[in-house]
């Protein structure tokens, strides 16, 4: 899996945030649109696309989109 693809998938769950606000370094919890329901939308997307089961700590311990990407990638690789 590639970071760019992951960012695009992550971006797709947002409705109003402009595309150029999303990069690997984006602090996603600082986005205006981010709230507890967006956290659940993120979990749904990752379950659907990658079949990875994230828990609350995975979201809490992530700051950037790349942090999330690494968790998902490691989980897929069985780490």
């Amino acid at each position: 899996m590639e970071l760019d693809t992951f960012i695009n998938q992550f971006k797709s769950i947002f409705e109003v945030t402009p595309d150029d606000e999303f990069s690997g370094n984006t602090d996603f919890k600082a986005l205006d649109e981010w709230d507890s329901l967006m956290a659940l939308e993120t979990i749904i997307m990752i379950d659907e696309v990658y079949e990875v089961e994230l828990d609350g700590d995975d979201i809490s311990n992530s700051t950037t989109i790349e942090d999330l990407f690494k968790i998902v990638k490691n989980r897929i690789n069985g780490q």
Partner: protein
């Protein structure tokens, strides 16, 4: 792998009871604004809940009314009921077991074995498996499974993640020993590693109640509670539900070579709308086979599966003598714990929903 095939048992009746009082989520001040409320309803599907006033009725009272009605409609002789299991996370007291109190209130024989099982959202399916196993050998012929929760009691009114979601209900399910009956097959599972995902931290042996337990803190934005109230890590629970429930149902179908298309209804624990819709979608089940009662009752923990059947499938169950129903039920949540069951209804009766 905890698969079971329990022969010679049959479900012959269902009843459910809720508080008459309702709370409209639109009237709560827990939401910051109209948009937040709308998003909540869109996501969870919960518009109102039936809620009892604290100290007025317990989960056992809703079960008691359900059981009284069911025993009457089944025309059962109370002396012949030899097993009563109460499944709940809302007991009357820390001890004695609520089942003992229910045995007496129902006027059942002193020869009736009665005990509690401490489980929530998976509880009805676990209870079914336990009772079916007990009566399968034929020594006990009639048994009652009473499951329900006052899930609203333990929630902080200032916790927007839990308070608007949960409601109260109780139920009664009647089972009999019947030689040659189709029986019940189950798949049960546990992941205690995530036991903190839904928890009341204080008040048990691990963390006894102290004055600290009553101090209200803000745990996240919009989530104020004390340590005697429910903590729910919504993200972990959500992730668990959408992943585990479909796997459990599929495991059951595969293990026992059950034809999915031959199932008339899939009754899931009513967790929240979005979660249940994802589970339904993953299993490719058409809408008409999946009853929902979230809108008017919310998540009622161990009461939710029988409540969904009593509210949405009343006529179908009462006509099961004309058209047999093949059913799958699946409960999942606090524990974390889950279970799926396959059973058929042949000549079961379903009481009208009781409100007290």
């Amino acid at each position: 792998m905890a698969f079971q095939k329990i022969d010679n048992v049959e479900i012959v009746g269902l009843a459910a009871c809720v508080p008459a009082d309702t709370v409209e989520n639109s009237e709560l001040d827990v939401f910051e604004n109209e948009t937040e409320y709308r998003k909540f309803v869109e996501f969870t599907g919960v518009e109102r809940r039936h809620i009892t006033k604290i100290g007025v009725n317990c989960a056992s009272d809703f079960c008691l009314h359900s059981a009284e009605q069911l025993i009457e409609e089944l025309n059962w002789n109370k002396e012949e009921i030899d097993c009563l299991v109460f499944v709940s996370h809302s007991p009357d007291y820390k001890y004695p077991a609520t089942a003992c109190i229910l045995q007496s209130k129902l006027g059942l024989s002193q020869e009736c074995m009665s005990f509690d099982v401490s489980l929530g959202c998976s509880g009805w399916v676990y209870g079914l498996s336990i009772i079916a196993s007990i009566i399968s050998s034929g020594k006990i012929e009639k048994a009652l499974l009473l499951s329900g929760d006052t899930a609203s009691f333990s929630k902080s009114r200032k916790d927007k993640g839990t308070y608007p979601l949960f409601g109260d209900s109780g139920s009664a399910t009647a089972l009999i020993y019947k030689e040659g009956a189709d029986g019940i097959v189950t798949h049960l599972g546990t992941n205690g590693k995530n036991y903190k995902a839904i928890i009341i931290e204080d008040g048990g042996g691990r963390n006894p109640v102290t004055s600290e337990s009553l101090i209200e803190r803000e745990y996240e934005q919009g989530i104020f509670r004390n340590r005697l109230q429910t903590h729910m890590d919504g993200m972990s629970v959500f992730s668990f539900g959408i992943s585990t429930a479909p796997k459990s149902v599929n495991a059951l179908l595969n293990k026992f070579q059950i034809d999915k298309n031959a199932i008339d209804y899939f009754v899931f624990h009513q967790a929240n709308l979005k979660m249940n819709q994802i589970i339904q979608k993953k299993l490719s089940i058409p809408d008409e086979k999946v009853p929902y009662v979230l809108k008017d009752y919310g998540n009622t923990s161990s009461g939710s599966i029988p409540l969904a059947m009593v509210v949405q499938l009343n006529d179908e169950i009462n006509n099961s003598n004309l058209k047999k129903l093949n059913m799958i039920a699946c409960g999942f949540g606090v524990g974390l714990s889950w279970g799926s069951a396959y059973f058929s209804l042949h000549s079961a009766i379903c009481c009208d929903l009781i409100e007290i």
